[in-house]
Symmetry: C2
Subunit: 459 residues, 2 copies
């Protein structure tokens, strides 16, 4: 059987291996969460509930049917956190790292997998994976230590677990919390005006959402030379794009939230600083962490629609975040801009963007929209008393593996729950990877490049 | 001054001439509608109201602030119908046709304009324009005669005017009606179960929405050979695509409307046939005629979202309809499908689609979405008690020059009204044509095709 598995691993395209392994992890997680020891006394968990929770954790989404703290025992919470860590680091990066630690050596196959998952170039994969693990655990550790400043005095020893859980959940852009002892389903609402908690979580989310390629580039080009007093290099093309998009979207989001919600959901906060703190979190979080420090169900419809946009765009590729990815959005915008200027190529900063990159970006965005639209339809037509915007919000939240909800999740019909589980899965493995995994026959790629051209008139 | 104008016409790119002429027609129309003789006694028309109506008529949108019959005198209605006919035929086709009839000869400049507007190939423009005019007036004439069967007995002599108005409005995909004597703001609701009226209007909308290139192809390849007993040719690539998309979308729309609204807005209709009649109209009309035979404000949210999709897609290029156009949508879908199959080209029916066509389609769709989103934001944030879905519906309706409304138009704030006027204009002249008209400096097109390639990792 092991021989069969080995043969399968060598024959299948890497994308399909990712798709299958993710499914296996989710199913294993759902069985673990079904154990009676995972559910608190007096509560009950159906298999669909467990599957939903395991899917939400593995896909680092954060949509929950119950308050995580009040429904699950510590064992259940530990399982959920493990699923988050495995799913967040990227199943494959994790297994590659594991293989590396065990064998101190990477086979060609594993290397391909690691490249596929981090979207990076295939330089020195071994050191990259070691760096990923070291960097991840360092960030989560530092984050947890800072959070303990708040939670240790407040909750005693339990505060350590809360801090660790929150730090991992934030770095992995998962959005799960176990703050139910403070306020049921309250997420970060009790800490909306607390800069220590919110800024730490903001930082963890942002760093986790940049992607390892960018972090490696920053370490290699800026941090290490600075530490060793050497000449610093300039960042790569990809890193500069990712950083610019992150900064741009964070600032834009904060301003829009401040303007739209100042007299609505932000009104109850004591002063401008607290409002800014909350607006910053509501700008960082939809891409694609899913923490909330205000009551999202009370947001204006247009704030929700704007959030849907941020959720759909998501974070950088090869990061712990989801969505169609900031670079995908940028490629599409560049293409639109070039056409409007009458240029024959998609151009960004005096560089031509390859046709296939544009096509791929278009496919990711197109399939994403289609999935979101179908799921919105399923939710509105099977769940009573849900308006269109809230259903759209929920569907996008699942596709972007965000986890924000306008309060719809616990009310979802069984069919909608299954649709949401599938959407989280599609969103996490990537619609195009999934499509390719399903359609390509054993790594064979069509290359009908000598077809005659067909003229189609558009718009 | 005439010399200056001639010089301008020769120097500017055709796109910019279209953009400017459309603006001039709208402004002229708004001044005409401001005449006191256009407004019925006891009613009043502000300049913004007149501008909105002129814009809506010229852009063949059909969004109205008032009931057309009850607010405007017959003179006002005549002006509106003239604006519809000019806008619907395409300003340029009309002026080209006019020039042709006057001079019996087309200069090179006019030829370019006609090609730009019909998106056709530049074969025999003269006969094309003559055919356009003949065909348009024949269709409208036949439509009006059929409609008289219903309206002459019902309204006497006034029924002739009602029939002509409706036929022109339907063929031009304008969506205006003067049925206010039967039911205020009722549009076709009183005739929802009447197949004579509805099917006639369906046919006019569909034929008008196919585009003249396709109609010419059908005449040339099928009708004329059949009439003369000759061998029939197969239709061109473009025609086959347009026809397939039209049939596909009409059938899909009818089924979806039947399923979603059977027990909601269709419930009051007496039998299955009447419901099917109404569902067919609600499938044909959002692309982009804008007639309604049910109360759209009572539709389920998901039906509205589905309608938004149909409105956004619209009709065929070079037709009287709006939207991003069915072919644009098809190109995008083909590109997505090819990427998912691992193909390196966008392929449709064994034909390769050119890169620039894909880019252009992407730009049209992208700008359209951006415009719709911004306008949705303006409507929700300046108009009280409008939910997000209705605002999205209204914004898309304006962009697609559809004219369907969930009852929001008359309540729009002044800022929203101006935004809607601009959106109708952008939707009618086409976002990319407008962008090119603004950005290209005197016909000079950038051709930086030797730029280095920049690698961007997407999704
Ligand atoms: K999340
Ligand atoms: K219309």
């Amino acid at each position: 059987m092991l021989a069969n598995l080995k043969m399968w691993l060598h024959k299948e395209p890497p994308g399909r291996i990712i798709v299958v392994s993710f499914a296996i992890i989710i199913l294993t997680g759902s069985l673990l969460l079904c154990l009676p020891a995972c559910t608190r006394p007096g509560k009950s968990t159906s298999y669909l509930d467990a599957l939903f929770t395991a899917g939400s954790a593995t896909c680092v989404t954060g949509l929950t049917l119950f308050d995580t703290y009040r429904h699950w025992t510590t064992l259940g919470q530990v399982f959920i956190l493990m699923l988050i860590q495995v799913g967040g680091l990227g199943l494959v990066t994790f297994t590659t790292g594991f293989t590396l630690l065990m064998h101190k050596k990477l086979g060609l196959r594993n290397m391909e997998l690691a490249v596929e998952n981090t979207n990076g170039d295939s330089g020195d994969i071994g050191s990259l994976v070691r760096m990923i693990l070291k960097f991840t655990f360092s960030c989560e550790g530092i984050g947890a230590l800072i959070l303990m400043i708040r939670f240790l005095p407040q909750m005693g020893a339990h505060g350590i677990w809360v801090s660790v859980f929150l730090a991992v959940s934030a770095y992995c852009n998962a959005g799960f919390d176990i703050l139910g002892s403070v306020m049921e389903n309250g997420n970060l609402i009790p800490y909306a005006a607390d800069p220590l908690v919110c800024l730490t979580i903001d930082m963890l989310i942002i760093v986790g959402g940049l992607g390892f390629v960018v972090i490696a580039d920053i370490c290699h080009s800026k941090l290490q030379p600075t530490l060793h007093g050497q000449h610093r290099h300039s960042l790569g093309f990809h890193s500069r794009i990712v950083l610019s998009m992150a900064i741009l979207l964070i600032i834009l989001g904060t301003i829009v939230f401040m303007v739209l919600e100042y007299k609505n959901t932000l009104a109850s906060l004591p002063n401008f600083g607290a409002k800014l703190n909350a607006a910053l979190l509501q700008s960082v979080s939809p891409r694609t962490a899913g923490f909330a420090s205000v009551d999202l169900s009370k947001e204006y419809d247009f704030t929700k629609i704007f959030t849907v946009l941020l959720m759909f765009i998501g974070a950088a590729p090869g990061s712990t975040g989801g969505g169609i990815k900031t670079t995908t959005m940028l490629v599409l915008l560049c293409c639109v801009h070039s056409v409007l200027r009458g240029q024959p190529e998609a151009i960004f900063h005096h560089r031509r963007i390859d046709k296939f990159t544009v096509y791929r970006a278009l496919a990711i965005c197109g399939v994403g929209m289609l999935v979101v639209l179908i799921v919105t339809g399923i939710i509105t037509s099977t769940t009573p008393n849900v308006n269109g915007v809230d259903a759209l919000y929920e569907a996008t939240s699942a596709f972007g593996t965000v986890g924000l909800t306008a309060g719809v999740t616990p009310r979802l019909s069984p069919i909608s729950r299954i649709a949401i589980i599938l959407t989280m899965y599609i969103g996490r493995v990537g619609p195009v990877s999934l499509g390719l995994a399903v359609s390509i026959k054993h790594g064979h790629i069509h290359t009908d490049s000598v077809l005659p051209e067909g003229k189609i008139i558009v718009g």
